[in-house]
């Protein structure tokens, strides 16, 4: 079981503070939502967790099987799906899976089983020869998720995976995440859609690099005395 904790995490890009003293507890086996509007610091937070950025201050603790571990030990079990369209438009679904099979050094039997499983649950099997550049928005995101899930990670970081995706594909995408989470995977999803906050087991509300609230969605709403997450953001912004 994988978990991550941050303590007073800060990230500055020159004079701009992207994250200001954020302490978060991403406990194992749950779907965590990093909720916030554009520029809240969600992508920076995920990149820090994925080891793609270095903290300006504060600390990051990676926990593997209940014990703190180094990032190098944690990394093989970590998968990350960036927000930007990062797949290759001229490669097909099958070619993407084969490429990631080789990067993760999966043996033939594991790959066969895992890829069939993923193609089935994403319902992309019949499109496996289609190039990524010719996929719809929802299918493209599912392919990104498949590439991340191929190695059966223990921790999955997803940066706005449903951004720009139609409502039906979004629902399908979340169902896929629930299925993965049931196996004990730590999933951290960033999103600007407030309705998606309620789909998470834990939410962490970020606003202009600051943590507004953190916890179980209903508990967060109750503690804030707010009817919706939007209200918390509006009040947070007013402060």
């Amino acid at each position: 079981m994988y978990a991550i904790r941050t303590e007073n995490l800060e990230k500055h890009f020159g004079a701009t503070a992207a994250l200001r003293g954020v302490s978060l507890d991403f406990s194992a086996g749950l779907i965590h939502g990093l909720i916030g509007s554009d520029g809240a610091g969600k992508t920076t937070a995920l990149r820090l967790l994925a080891g793609l950025l270095r903290p300006s201050a504060g600390s990051l603790t990676y926990i593997k099987d209940g014990r703190p571990s180094s990032f190098a030990e944690f990394r093989p079990g970590l998968a990350y799906m960036p927000q930007q369209a990062s797949l290759y438009p001229d490669l097909s679904i099958a070619e993407h899976l084969e490429f990631f099979r080789d990067l993760y050094r999966l043996d033939a039997a594991t790959f066969k089983q895992r890829s069939s499983e993923l193609l089935e649950i994403t319902r992309l099997g019949k499109f496996s020869a289609r190039r990524a550049g010719q996929l719809s928005g929802g299918m493209y995101k599912k392919l990104g998720l498949m590439c991340a899930l191929l190695q059966s990670p223990s921790a999955l970081l997803l940066d706005e995976p449903t951004n720009g995706v139609d409502p039906i594909s979004r629902r399908e995408f979340w169902e896929l995440l629930y299925a993965q989470s049931a196996s004990g995977m730590l999933i951290i999803v960033s999103t600007a859609y407030m309705d998606e906050a309620e789909r998470c087991a834990r939410v962490h509300l970020l606003d202009a690099g600051r943590l507004l609230a953190s916890g179980e969605p209903r508990a967060v709403l109750k503690a804030a005395g707010a009817a919706s997450f939007e209200e918390i953001f509006i009040r947070g912004g007013a402060k």
């Binding site: 890009f13 990149r47 994925a50 080891g51 793609l52 950025l53 270095r54 190098a72 990394r75 093989p76 970590l78 998968a79 990350y80 799906m81 960036p82 930007q84 369209a85 990062s86 797949l87 290759y88 001229d90 490669l91 070619e95 490429f99 990631f100 080789d102 990067l103 993760y104 050094r105 590439c147």
Partner: protein, 372 residues
């Protein structure tokens, strides 16, 4: 996680091959463009000075003076045209209509057999010094031919030097230009290819994804470079075919030696492209920097046009850090002179050194994170 995994590097290389095979522009650029440019420049760039407009003012107008003019005409170097006064010849030189003027004074034919020297003046436009030097180089041969035509004795040289041009007896400038041109085109394309392919990964966000996988920079660099080395070698093969069978440029040396030099040069240039792309992370900027750093020094400072030995000391030393300068020596040495490994030990060692240096720079500069 640590160290170099050949399997992962091969995966990157396979992916790169798919990109190349599906991008006709890249294929045409690397395989077709060098051949097209070599054909184009092979015909256009000719350092042999021919068909120069020559203004002729023949005041003698005798059999001998006409024979003199015909010697100039039949040489193929000059296209004589009559003028009616020395002033007209001078105006022709001023306007650039003529590159040289031949003024034959009255009594030229009569004085040929007599004791006094025949009166004839040859004026050359010195604006283009290399052209003027070439024209002056033709004169001894032309005067010798004219004297033989007149039936006069050709004066013996005070020091009888016999000149022989080795390796390129006809001084065919294409033999000199085409191997050099291939060096410049291949060098520029190599830098451009990797600069663009890595910058593209940064620009479209796929580098962020790659860096989050177990891939190490060395594996990405090796996987990116390997297919292009193959592609560049294919380009070099076609260029050599055109040079050999299209322009009759000989290949006198060892193919293996040439291949070794080419691989070292391609690796050095491809690594330079990686360094550019890692620093810029943008395709447009990478392309501009590749053009500047790939084309200008290699065109001007590699010895392609201007001999390195004739450059001021600063530039002479500066050329030592330019891989095209060394590969130029290898390419011309192997193809034209048939030079062996021992003859080319210095340029080959310099190429290997620069290649190691640029590869090391590419590894060092390649970032494993997204920090600006």
């Amino acid at each position: 996680m640590t160290g170099f995994d050949l399997h992962r590097a091969a995966a990157v290389a396979r992916k790169e091959v798919m990109h190349i095979m599906r991008d006709p522009f890249t294929l045409a650029l690397v395989l077709g463009l060098p051949v097209v440019l070599v054909v184009f420049f092979g015909f256009a760039i000719d350092f042999d000075v021919k068909n120069l407009a020559l203004g002729v003012y023949d005041r003698d107008n005798t059999r001998h003076s006409r024979q003199l003019v015909s010697v100039f005409e039949s040489s193929g170097y000059f296209l004589p045209g009559a003028v009616d006064s020395p002033a007209a010849a001078a105006r022709g030189l001023d306007s650039g209509r003529y590159s040289a003027a031949l003024l034959v004074e009255p009594g030229f034919g009569r004085e040929l057999g007599g004791g006094g020297g025949p009166r004839v003046q040859f004026i050359v436009d010195g604006t283009d010094n290399s052209k003027a030097q070439a024209v002056l180089g033709y004169l001894p041969g032309l005067t010798g031919a004219a004297l033989r035509k007149f039936g006069a004795a050709v004066p013996a040289d005070p020091v009888p030097l016999k000149t022989r041009f080795m390796y390129n007896p006809e001084l065919n400038s294409r033999w000199f230009v085409i191997p050099g041109l291939a060096v410049i085109i291949i060098g520029l394309l190599s830098i451009l290819m990797t600069a663009l392919t890595v910058a593209r990964e940064w620009e479209n966000g796929s580098m962020e994804l790659l860096l989050s996988t177990p891939l190490r920079p060395a594996e990405i660099i090796a996987g990116k470079i390997a297919p292009y080395v193959g592609l560049i070698l294919a380009g070099v093969f076609f260029v050599n075919l055109v040079a050999r069978f299209g322009f009759g440029v000989p290949f006198r040396g060892s193919h293996l030696l040439f291949l070794s030099g080419t691989v070292l040069f391609a690796l050095a240039s491809l690594s330079q492209g990686i360094v550019i792309s890692v620093v810029t992370r943008q395709q447009q900027l990478a392309m501009q920097l590749s053009m500047i750093s790939g084309l200008l020094p290699s065109l001007l400072l590699s010895g392609f046009i201007f001999p390195v030995e004739s450059m001021p000391a600063f530039f002479r030393y500066f050329t030592m850090v330019l891989s095209p300068r060394w590969f130029m020596e290898v390419a011309r040495g192997v193809t034209i002179r048939g030079a062996g490994a021992a003859d080319l030990a210095l340029p080959l060692a310099a190429l290997a050194g620069l290649c190691a240096l640029l590869l090391a720079a590419a590894f060092k500069k390649f970032k494993t994170d997204l920090e600006p």
